[in-house]
């Protein structure tokens, strides 16, 4: 089928074997690609109950049928069982890497096993080579990428790699995709580390064909027009995702000082205008994307002057600027870059460090237990030292490197009350207080409490969603239907590996038109949503199989305390709220009251057929 390359590459690091398999004919129509292919491969290949850091846990790089074409804003997807919370994890990344995977001839690459010593993989069309990485072990992600490219003597290779955090199995270590893009959440860098895999370089000479050339170009032009005409998209184009800051700060969604507050008087010094005037120099874009939400620039003032860096995304501004109270744009950019280089997810790092500072302020930690660090909000020097400790599991890093939930449990003394994570994933820069829907999206998120698996905040604040009116964040009604609908929609869109910022302009109809023109796969709106619902149910079955129970669907004590400021001031969750939301949600999904899909739901969606294995481990 056009749009697809028709092959999956399997690499086993233990035996150094690699083999190809034709993409099964049934997969495109049932699952589209991306997230859908990822869960199918993971469901089949992971032996049930496998530890995420076990060699048998597969690392799955997967593309979508529009990836690598002119279709705007397509990303790649890295799937595995997450070290951080033991759940399904699909982490999306921009840049240029996944496009090369397709040009090399593959829709997906699956890496299993464990090398006996550090290696990196070089994939050039259908040739796979192992190279020694002992001399790269310990290098940061920027140094690793530069070294790999220099060794290969070809700058057109695209490289992904881990930093020291991944090597040291930090449970929120990321995988860096040069330049400046990351598969950040869930700790997939630690899966690399557990396999002794430092980097993967890929390049390819094959072209991607589409089924209907003229209608494809027509649909792509329509998508570009919608992006150009969307006010939201143009905000991202000019000011990156940090353009969202004034909104979140006004309502009280911004994490401030370990989520003790939801807004700050410092917001103006952290906003887009501040970054633009002090750091940014030019726009930067991922492959095939006209939006250019990325910015390249240079730190010009202060102790970090001279560093060339990219922009700090809204999430990182929230978790570093707000949650750690580092309001200097320069310090924020440097901390952000330090996390990227060490290979740490900025969201989880901001959550974990914010927790540590609050614990220090409460006297639960002191200078002895923190390896001599005197921690306080806003002190970027001690924060940077702590971040290095985490990446190397030194000093206080030993306590924090397994995530805030595990760290808080080990610390005890009431610490779990202010460990801000939901389903084991450190909470992103949208505090749930002020949005009943967001709370529900977090407790039902397939990879944990993630803002990208449903974002009801937008519908609640605008008062409407595609099916009519929507109650505001104070009210519970309608939220089960809203959240399940958006999760299904996003699962379908993520099977195309879309970017959220592209979605801010491109209509769902246009995505379907591009898919139909590229592949010949013509799906009605209803069928498209059904693919998403099918994927979401298969992931729930996977999570249940791996030990997830609905007991994990709860919020920490911090989010049960009233929000101190902002438009939504006073809002908090109760256990009764969560129970009522889950009841609505499970009903809307056709699941039982413990969150298990009913047999008739699985039959309706064709999930039972999908559970028949298509892939086997070697």
């Amino acid at each position: 089928m056009k749009g697809y390359m028709g092959k999956i590459l399997f690499i086993d690091l233990t035996s150094r074997a690699c083999w190809e398999r034709a993409l099964p004919d049934s997969m495109p129509a049932a699952l589209i690609g991306g997230k859908g292919f990822g869960i199918k491969l993971l469901y089949d290949l992971l032996p049930p109950g496998t530890d995420p850091l076990d060699p048998a846990n597969p690392l799955i790089f997967v593309s979508g049928p529009l990836t690598g074409t002119l279709a705007p804003s397509m990303r790649g997807c890295l799937v595995s069982k997450a070290p951080l919370n033991g759940m399904f994890d699909d982490s999306y990344f921009g840049g240029h890497f996944i496009q090369e995977v397709k040009y090399a001839g593959y829709d997906a690459i699956v890496v299993t096993g464990k090398a006996c010593s550090p290696v990196y993989l070089v994939i050039s069309d259908d040739h796979v080579e192992y190279r020694d990485a002992a001399h790269l072990w310990g290098l940061d992600t920027y140094e690793t990428c530069d070294s790999v490219k220099a060794e290969l003597g070809d700058a057109t290779f695209r490289v992904c790699c881990i930093g020291p955090a991944g090597e040291n199995l930090v449970k929120f270590a990321l995988v860096d995709f040069e330049p400046h893009r990351q598969a950040g959440r869930g700790g997939l860098g630690a899966v690399f580390g557990s396999k002794n895999l430092k980097a993967v370089a890929v390049r390819g000479d094959k072209g991607i064909e589409v089924a209907h050339r003229e209608s494809f170009i027509e649909a792509v032009s329509q998508a570009h027009k919608q992006l150009a005409e969307s006010g939201d998209t143009q905000e991202f184009a000019k000011y990156s995702s940090v353009s969202l800051l004034p909104f979140s700060n006004e309502f009280g969604f911004l994490p401030v000082r370990n989520f003790q507050d939801g807004s700050t008087s410092q917001a103006e010094s952290m906003n887009a205008a501040a970054h633009e005037s002090r750091v940014w120099m030019r726009h930067w874009a991922c492959a095939g994307c006209p939006i250019h939400c990325g910015k390249m620039g240079m730190i010009k003032r202060g102790p970090y002057a001279g560093a060339i860096c990219d922009n700090v995304e809204y999430e990182s501004v929230g978790l570093i600027g707000g949650n750690l109270a580092v309001s200097s744009v320069e310090a924020m950019a440097f901390i952000n870059q330090t996390c990227d280089k060490l290979g740490l997810d900025t969201i989880s790092t901001g959550g974990v460090v914010g927790f540590a500072i609050e614990a220090f302020e409460r006297g639960l930690l002191d200078e002895t237990s923190s390896g001599g660090l005197k921690l306080s909000f806003g002190d970027h020097r001690s924060i940077l030292k702590l971040i290095h400790q985490i990446a190397h599991r030194e000093g206080l890093g030993g306590l924090l490197a397994d995530g805030v939930v595990e760290g808080a449990e080990r610390l005890g003394k009431g610490a779990p009350d202010f460990a801000c994570a939901i389903q084991g994933l450190e909470t992103p820069a949208w505090g749930p207080r002020g949005s009943a829907g967001m709370g529900l999206a977090y407790v039902t998120g397939d990879r944990g409490g993630c803002h990208q698996r449903g974002f009801p905040i937008g519908y609640e604040t605008s008062g409407s969603w595609p099916k009519g009116e929507m109650a505001d964040g104070w009210h519970l009604e309608g939220k089960g239907e809203l959240v399940s609908w958006e999760q299904n929609l996003l699962a379908a869109l993520y099977s195309l590996t879309i970017c959220e910022f592209g979605r801010s302009g491109v209509s769902y109809d246009t995505y379907r038109s591009m898919l139909a023109a590229a592949t010949g796969l013509s799906l009605s709106e209803e069928e498209f949503l059904l693919v998403g619902e099918r994927i979401w149910n298969l992931i729930r079955l996977f999570n249940l199989r791996e030990g997830w129970t609905q007991d994990q669907a709860r919020v920490p004590q911090r989010f049960k305390e009233a929000l101190p400021s902002g438009v939504m001031k006073g809002h908090a969750f109760t256990d009764e709220d969560i129970a009522a939301l889950l009841e609505q949600y499970n009903t809307a999904r056709g699941w039982d009251d413990s969150g298990r899909p009913l047999a008739r739901t699985l039959t309706r969606l064709g999930v039972d057929a999908l559970m028949e294995p298509l892939f086997e481990g070697k």
Partner: protein, 135 residues
């Protein structure tokens, strides 16, 4: 005479130019098959599209041993594919490394009959087509 004009300060490295070029010239997508390239320098601070400037003294024409490359009256340097033997000397001689060898044939920018697809695809006007005024 028409030429491609580059303002690298506006380039975002999105490679839409290369994708559009590869689709126009090969019917499939791969930026590597586009007839222009992007050079990234200074730790990623700078990305510069490198294009064929249809040289006044085209070294590719001089390098070709079979006379497959000619500079036309309109100033555009083109390769006759039926004459090209795929030796790659033109690519070796190219000042800007923008001649692509593929399936034993050399390919280069021919300005798409005066309206280049790369220019149309560029979202930031980092690429433009300009008419040179003779003195």
């Amino acid at each position: 005479m028409r030429r491609l004009y580059v303002d690298a300060s506006l380039c975002t490295e999105c490679r839409l130019c290369q994708l559009a070029c590869s689709f126009e010239k090969t019917g499939a997508f791969n930026p590597r098959h586009g007839l222009l390239r992007i050079e990234v320098r200074k730790s990623g601070l700078i990305s510069e599209p490198i294009v064929c400037v249809q040289c006044e003294n085209p070294l590719c024409v001089r390098a070709c041993v079979v006379g497959a490359i000619t500079k036309g009256d309109d100033g555009v340097v083109t390769i006759a594919p039926e004459k090209c033997v795929g030796c790659g000397r033109c690519a070796d001689a190219c000042l800007h490394d923008v001649i692509v060898m593929q399936e034993k044939k050399a390919r280069k920018c021919d300005l798409c009959n005066g309206s280049p697809k790369c220019v149309a695809a560029c979202p930031t006007r980092a690429l433009a087509i300009v008419e040179e005024v003779s003195q």
